[in-house]
């Protein structure tokens, strides 16, 4: 029986597979550079060479192209190691600035090369693996770039080295390049539209297929069909080619699922007041004026900068940061009159984290007054002042302007009464919390009443703060009004308990005064349906008369008032009952 032996492991030969594929299945690692699962193998970088032994003859073959025929393969023998070292040394000389190659070489104990750096190479990082060329050709079906020239003068270029007319600016070439040697702008002068990462506040770009954020539920990638090339010209399909479980389904579409539920908890959250609408602070104009959510990503250890604070304009580590409180909060003239409640604490936290990250950095907090009303909050503030040396300045900045490569803040220090002009490297604003736009849309669908700012109205602020004005719909979190995590968790738990309480009853107890339709009189005109704010009355499509959902009816009387024929009345509150009562009450006068 014919056998294929890879590093001593016997497997069934399979000429339809390559040695690389079989080795990978066995968990044997073979380094590759010009190989990509979604592309045809080219076998040109020669890094994946393995020793083949056939009829006692040992030769070196590239694993990415060599069929898994019978025979013996050694992937890590002395001759293979020598060959890989040789290739890596040549690559280091050809592309001395390719950091990734340097790192790869170090894995094979190659730290330097005795060969001269090759001056004739067109690009100090390019190793000519050709992944970009093959991607543009085979994956994107465009072929905007190709190889030009021969031997040492071989390079990647567009025809005639002119800007390409057919480049779709998809960026796949740049993405697939293992050494960051090329840019899309090398081939085209047309504008390139990167896709900024929503979660990382646009600090970095994201691909068209991505996991929205770590710990997303469900934790699976989503395909952005507005950016994905596959939906544009039926090209690409790399994600599908590399997915080991064939999970990618391009035909999947948005589905509307209809569920019958007994209760809804609304938890639509908030947005920050947009920076662009804060021109006096250079919002949207000065790159180093950012909002607190962006700062949150800069400070995150798993964030786009790996927790190293770098300012957006030039990537330098800022040596001083000003944190500005109450931006459009408590500001009825320009923004909202309410207090956003969480900014005081998170800005103090960010100032402290920044001081931890940049030891010689200086943090300034501009505040109107600090509201540290929570468990341990005041102590936290004290620590920021006394232990972390965060400078607190009481005063609301009037303007923030660009001053050279610094950002200048004009303010007053209301404690000393002096004018303050402060140059810092970066400014973090704490804009007001406002209801999110998409949340407001949902509230409209649910016909939930909101206050003038868009926060959901509760039934009673003190007595029934968890219930919305609609029966069966409960509120949790900032959807009601700004609150911090502690309050949000408490309210969410309360809302859940309310629902469970409702579900645990054998019957729902309602106020007896609810709408009632006299089936004899109702003409099914539907006026009542339009008037009802709770979707509690609707015209039955078969009987063609109005029917009341008694569990939803709040007994407000809007339907009764709207009914042109007087068919809708309130149970226990019929017209004749009222008239009788009126008669009884006025009998002595008659």
């Amino acid at each position: 029986m014919a056998k294929l032996i890879i590093d001593g492991i016997e497997v069934e030969p399979d000429p339809n597979k390559t040695v690389l594929e079989v080795a990978n299945e066995l968990g044997i690692e073979i380094p590759t550079l010009c190989h990509h699962k979604a592309l045809s193998p080219s076998g040109t970088c020669r890094l994946c060479v393995v020793e083949t032994i056939w009829k006692g003859r040992s030769t070196l073959k590239t694993a990415c192209t060599y069929p898994a025929w019978e025979g013996e393969i050694r992937t890590n023998s002395p001759v293979v190691k020598r060959a890989r070292k040789f290739i890596l040394k040549l690559m280091l000389a050809a592309a001395p600035e390719a950091e990734d190659i340097r790192e790869l070489a170090a894995k094979y104990d190659v730290f330097d090369t005795e060969y001269k750096s090759r001056e004739s190479n067109w690009n100090k990082k390019c190793i000519m693996c050709g992944l970009c060329v093959r991607t543009c050709d085979e994956i994107m079906n465009i072929s905007a770039i190709g190889f030009v020239g021969r031997g040492e003068h071989r390079r990647i270029a567009t025809p005639m080295k002119e800007y390409s007319d057919i480049c779709s600016t998809c960026g796949a070439c740049q993405f697939v390049c293992p050494t960051n040697a090329i840019k899309v702008s090398d081939w085209t002068d047309r504008p390139i539209h990167p896709i900024p990462s929503e979660f990382d506040q646009g600090l970095v770009d994201r691909p068209a297929i991505y996991i929205p954020f770590p710990q997303a539920v469900p934790n699976t990638p989503v395909l952005d069909d507005t950016s994905c090339m596959h939906f544009k010209n039926d090209a690409c399909g790399v994600c599908s080619a590399v997915c080991p479980t064939d999970a990618i389904d391009y035909k999947q579409v948005d589905k509307i699922e209809e569920l019958d539920v007994g209760a809804i908890i609304v938890s639509t959250g908030f947005e920050l007041y947009p920076l662009k609408k804060i021109p006096e602070y250079g919002g949207g104009e000065i790159p180093d004026v950012i909002d607190a959510l962006t700062m949150e990503r800069l400070l995150a250890p798993a964030g786009p900068t790996n927790g190293i604070v770098k300012r957006p304009s030039d990537g330098k580590i800022p040596k001083s940061i000003a944190f500005v409180h109450c931006v459009r909060s408590r500001d009825p003239e320009h923004g909202v009159p309410y207090c956003s409640r969480i900014c005081c604490m998170y800005l103090i936290k960010q100032a402290m984290l920044y001081k931890h990250a940049v030891e010689d950095g200086r943090a300034y907090d501009f505040y109107i007054d600090l509201r540290t009303n929570g468990k341990g909050y005041e102590e936290f503030y004290q620590r920021a002042q006394e232990e972390e040396w965060v400078t607190f300045i009481r005063g609301k900045p009037a303007r923030i302007i660009q001053n050279g490569d610094k950002v200048q803040i004009w303010s007053t220090d209301t404690l000393s009464g002096r004018q303050v002009k402060l140059d810092v490297d970066m400014v973090v604003l704490a804009p007001a919390m406002i209801p999110s736009e998409s949340g407001l849309k949902l509230l409209k669908t649910l016909r939930l009443a909101t206050d003038e700012y868009g926060w959901i109205k509760e039934q009673h602020l003190k007595l029934r703060p968890l219930e919305s004005m609609t029966a069966g719909i409960f509120i949790s979190g900032v959807a009601q009004y700004p609150k911090d995590i502690t309050d949000t968790v408490a309210q969410a738990s309360g809302a859940a308990a309310k629902v469970l309480d409702m579900f645990s009853q054998p019957e729902l107890v309602r106020s007896p005064t609810i709408a009632h339709v006299d089936q004899e009189i109702c003409a099914g005109c539907g006026y009542c349906e339009k008037a009802c704010a709770y979707e509690a009355i609707a015209v039955d499509p078969v009987k063609h008369i109005a029917v009341v959902n008694e569990a939803l009816c709040e007994g407000c009387g809007a339907c009764a008032a709207a009914c042109p024929s007087g068919a809708v009345q309130h149970s226990n509150f019929f017209k004749n009952q009222i008239l009788t009562m009126v008669l009884e009450a006025t009998r002595k006068y008659s």
């Binding site: 040109t44 020669r46 040789f86 040549l90 000389a93 021969r150 040492e152």
Partner: protein, 614 residues
């Protein structure tokens, strides 16, 4: 239209009789090299002269392709006396007609004089250059005008095709297999095995390809064959196509061979007209046609897989060949690709039988091989010799030894991928295996002879630089490794060499030959490796003594004037392009080493051996 083998025989007889009547014949050699030396004007001069003297009917003119003796082109042969005139100019034509044609006298000054014996040679057979040759393939060039299919049929052309068409396909392959014919393009792969594999490969469409992308520096036998005897190649291809079951063929000719393309195109056209190419060849029901594909001139396009990619319309870069072209070649169909000379051998084998063919040559290399003998030999040209002849016979007996009485140093065989063999290996048999064992290769038949004035490090640098330029550049070891090799050789030639460079060169050679994608890369280190092996002392002289023994590497050479010998003739000072030589007439001259660009002009012009090169 020839519809059968009998028709062909009748036609051949008719043409042969017609030729037999042309008793008095003037043969003028042509081809690209002949034309460069004025053969066209010689032909038209003869034509005009014959017309003017109204000798048209009595005396016939036959312009042919190359006759191999490039050193002495154009050659004129007068039949039936076989008088052999060399280096003929159109001015000599009236004299030849006056003397030889009209008076049957010999024009002495146009005869070839053997430089060794100083003997005048009257006929072809008297010339030592031709003596040891066995021109089975190349010899027919003298017998035909390349554009005339009638000439080819008259000398028995296409009889092999007729014979093959009557044979079983497997029997043809068997015959080729038994003949021991090996690929003449360089690899030396047994042709019969290739054919057999393609014949057995599954697929209804198969292809045959003729590789005429000859690119080795100084090699031009394929061109001479295509120009001089295109029908022999065509006939071989048709036989091969019939044997493997192909109906389509390609000939890939480099752009720089316009005459070869023209002559082959004419040959194809005429063959089609005669029913020897196209539909229903010779009434056998077998269809086959050929397209000419002109290459862009990249050396690497001669590599078989790159050539096929080029025909497919893609860039000529080789691909990994784990699956042979006989299984998946052109457009992934079974394909037989053979070199020009290989195809030209096929009719010979079919006509004379494998036994006859196998009787020529050595045990494992059969038949003859055409070499282009160039460099520092007296007689440069194309030579066809039986396999197994020694290098010494080629260089000294055929080549007439080294020019100007200099000392032989080495001979480079196999083109840029071959190696240089030293004097100690002059008695080496020339065949596929002996050459490979010695670190060189047969290649396509280039043979460059070096004398004591050639620096072996410089030669290695030349070939490696050639390969750097001609590497397709797709795989890392060949693209990067060769550049590094060239840089080190440059350093050595310019006096920056270190002894550890030799180890680096050997490691580079190992890496490039082991890990390159195609044969071009795998064989690329050969010129360097063979010179390092056989002429290591020259490398060491460059590195340790900073001296170029042959005086070639400019950076290591200084020119001085020996005051004792200098007569003050001022010739060197006049010739010096940078005015570095000063001195009064009749007094010893001096070279200003600061100004000197080391062109060597003074050394070459000095009649008194006063300029010294150190």
């Amino acid at each position: 239209m020839i519809k059968s083998a009998e028709d062909l025989n009748k036609l051949a007889e008719k043409f042969a009789q017609k030729r037999a009547k042309q008793e008095r014949l003037i043969i003028v050699s042509g081809g690209t090299c002949g034309e460069a030396r004025g053969s066209k004007s010689v032909v038209s001069a003869f034509r005009k002269e014959l017309e003017d003297r109204k000798l048209n009917d009595k005396v016939h003119l036959r312009p042919t392709g190359c006759l191999g003796f490039c050193e002495r082109e154009p050659i004129v042969i007068i039949e039936p006396e076989k008088i052999f005139y060399t280096s003929v100019s159109h001015k000599d034509v009236p004299k030849i007609i006056n003397e030889t044609i009209e008076k049957h006298k010999i024009v002495e000054e146009l005869l070839y004089t053997d430089p060794i014996t100083n003997k005048k040679c009257m006929t072809h057979d008297d010339i030592p250059f031709y003596e040891k040759q066995q021109p089975f393939i190349f010899g027919n060039n003298v017998n035909l005008t390349p554009t005339s299919i009638d000439d080819y049929i008259a000398i028995g052309g296409y009889t092999a095709l007729a014979k093959a068409l009557s044979m079983d396909r497997d029997a043809i392959i068997d015959e080729v297999l038994k003949s021991g014919l090996r690929g003449r393009g360089g690899g030396g792969f047994p042709t019969g095995i290739k054919w057999k594999s393609a014949r057995q490969a599954e697929g209804d469409i198969k292809y045959v390809i003729c590789n005429a992308d000859e690119g080795d520096p100084g090699a031009y036998m394929d061109r001479a064959l295509l120009e001089g005897n295109p029908h022999s190649i065509l006939e071989g291809m048709i036989i091969g196509a019939y044997a493997i079951g192909a109906n389509e063929g390609y000939i890939y000719v480099r752009q720089e061979y316009p005459l070869a393309c023209e002559n082959f195109g004419i040959a194809m056209e005429k063959a089609r007209k005669y029913g020897l190419l196209g539909k229903n060849i010779l009434g056998s029901g077998f269809d086959f046609d050929i397209k000419i594909n002109r290459g862009g001139g990249a050396f690497v396009a001669g590599e078989s897989s790159a050539l096929m990619r080029s025909i497919e319309g893609k860039a000529a870069v080789p691909r990994p060949k784990h699956v042979h072209a006989t299984q998946k070649g052109l457009w992934d169909r079974p394909t037989v690709l053979n070199n020009v000379e290989t195809w030209a051998n096929v009719p010979l084998i079919i006509n004379n039988g494998s036994k006859w063919y196998a009787s020529i040559g050595t045990e494992r290399s059969k038949g003859t091989k055409i070499f282009s003998l160039v460099g520092k030999v007296n007689n440069t040209g194309l030579v066809e010799v039986p396999m197994g002849i020694t290098l010494r016979e080629i260089v000294y007996d055929i080549g007439g030894g080294i020019r100007n009485g200099k000392k032989f140093k080495g001979v480079q065989t196999g083109g840029p991928s071959g190696g240089v063999l030293p004097e100690s290996l002059l008695d080496l048999q020339v065949d596929f295996d002996s050459l490979s064992d010695a670190g060189s290769m047969m290649g396509s038949g280039g043979m460059i002879v070096f004398d004591e004035d050639n620096c072996m490090v410089d030669i290695a640098k030349y070939f490696i630089s050639f390969l750097v330029d001609e590497s397709c550049g797709q795989c890392t070891p060949c693209r990067e490794g060769l550049v590094q090799m060239r840089e080190i050789l440059n350093d050595i030639c310019e006096g920056r060499g270190k002894m550890e460079h030799l180890d680096m060169l050997e490691e580079l050679a190992w890496g490039i030959s082991q890990t390159s994608l195609c044969q071009l890369g795998k064989a690329a280190p050969n010129p360097m490796l063979s010179t390092l092996k056989y002429f290591r002392d020259e490398y060491i002289a460059h590195i340790e003594e900073k001296r170029c023994p042959a005086g070639v590497c400019k950076a290591l050479v200084t020119y001085t004037i020996d005051a004792e010998k200098c007569t003050g003739c001022t010739l060197c000072a006049k010739k010096c392009p940078v005015g570095a030589i000063t001195g009064k007439a009749k007094e010893a001259h001096v070279i200003d080493t600061e100004k000197c660009v080391k062109c060597g002009m003074c050394y070459d012009v000095c009649n008194f051996d006063a300029v010294k090169r150190i």
